[in-house]
């Protein structure tokens, strides 16, 4: 919903995450919200509160039959590069189309 748009050729982290998650999960719904500002005072955020904390909501039939841990692992694995380059924390909601009521 609030995915930030990259300017020029360099994509924002949100846009990069959207690309990685959308294709791999074939998501029906993919909401990525940058909430880094909420953690601006966090000791772990070094220089700026930029693109460090996100809320991610994804609805995908690929989650069928997967436990919550498994679903979160899928998202973590897809975002591994981001986690190794400044992404500090993500809050994940991972549901199947049936569970989300859609």
């Amino acid at each position: 919903m609030m995915a930030s748009r990259g300017t020029g050729a360099v994509l924002s982290r949100a846009a990069r995450m959207r690309q990685k998650l959308q294709s791999a999960l074939e998501a029906n719904v993919l909401d990525i919200e940058d909430v880094s500002y909420q953690h601006a005072g966090h000791a772990a955020v070094k220089d700026n509160a930029n693109e460090t904390h996100f809320n991610i909501r994804v609805i995908s039939s690929k989650f069928e039959g997967q436990s919550l841990v498994k679903r979160h692992r899928m998202v973590y694995d897809l975002l591994n590069d981001e986690l190794n380059s400044g992404l500090h924390a993500i809050s994940i909601v991972a549901k199947t189309p049936k569970e989300s009521g859609s």
Partner: protein, 234 residues
């Protein structure tokens, strides 16, 4: 996600570990004998077996008293300066863009820590690797996980991973999970704060058995609560 995160951060910067350690001692009196010796080493009365483990695990250049080593592991009091020293040197050595939470872990150099972690997971019915302590969390997500677990009448064992980089690496290698908190219930990794909150709130739908059902956290914590009551009354 924890909307209380901002509140938790500001209020916990004033709560150093002194108060939390006292809380731990009070709580530990109600626990089993094995765990009692574990915590009593904070005041210097450790059993030799546990002390020896930590001495070996830490292998410092300068020998430290066992109780002080233990405090470094569990409370981060004495270990704050060295832990910060560790983390900043690690950060400089690795990619400066990489947050220290996500730096690569190396299993081979932490064998004894892996043993400690494995035993911790096995021996504590509810175990949370977190930032800070159950009574003084230092992160909104950790605070949320503790808050949820506290609504159940179960003993909660917390381990602060901020005070010990080796411990943090060891836990992350164990679960292959990149974030904290990490909650273990009856020896099994259950998930982070999102999952714990989800299981607590339960969904409106009845979903298949491999997913959670209404009140599942209550189910799996239920028998721990009963055991806890027995221990505390005896």
């Amino acid at each position: 996600m924890a909307t209380a995160s901002a509140v938790a951060v500001t209020q916990n910067t004033n709560q150093r570990s002194g108060g939390a350690t006292r809380e731990y001692r009070i709580r530990s009196l109600a626990r089993s004998a094995a765990r009692l010796s574990f915590f009593s080493s904070v005041s210097g009365g450790a059993s030799d077996h546990r002390t020896a483990d930590f001495r070996r695990a830490d292998s410092p250049a300068v020998p430290q008293p066992a109780s002080q080593q233990f405090m470094k592991y569990s409370s981060g009091l004495g270990g704050d300066s060295s832990a910060n020293g560790d983390s900043s040197s690690t950060r400089l050595a690795a990619d400066p863009d990489t947050h220290q939470d996500f730096q690569p872990t190396s299993k081979s150099s932490n064998m004894s820590f892996d043993d400690i972690v494995a035993r911790d997971i096995k021996e504590n019915p509810v175990l949370i690797y977190m930032k800070g302590y159950p009574d003084a969390p230092r992160c909104g997500f950790s605070a949320l996980a503790v808050k949820v677990l506290k609504t159940y009448d179960v003993p909660i064992t917390g381990r602060d991973i901020l005070g010990d980089l080796k411990l943090k690496e060891s836990v992350k290698a164990h679960t292959n999970w990149p974030t904290f908190p990490q909650v273990f219930i009856k020896g099994e990794f259950v998930g982070g704060s999102d999952i714990i909150l989800d299981m607590h709130q339960a969904s409106e739908l009845i979903v298949p058995s491999f997913h959670y059902q209404k009140g599942q956290l209550k189910d799996i914590l239920g028998d721990i609560a009963q055991k806890g009551e027995q221990n505390e009354s005896s």
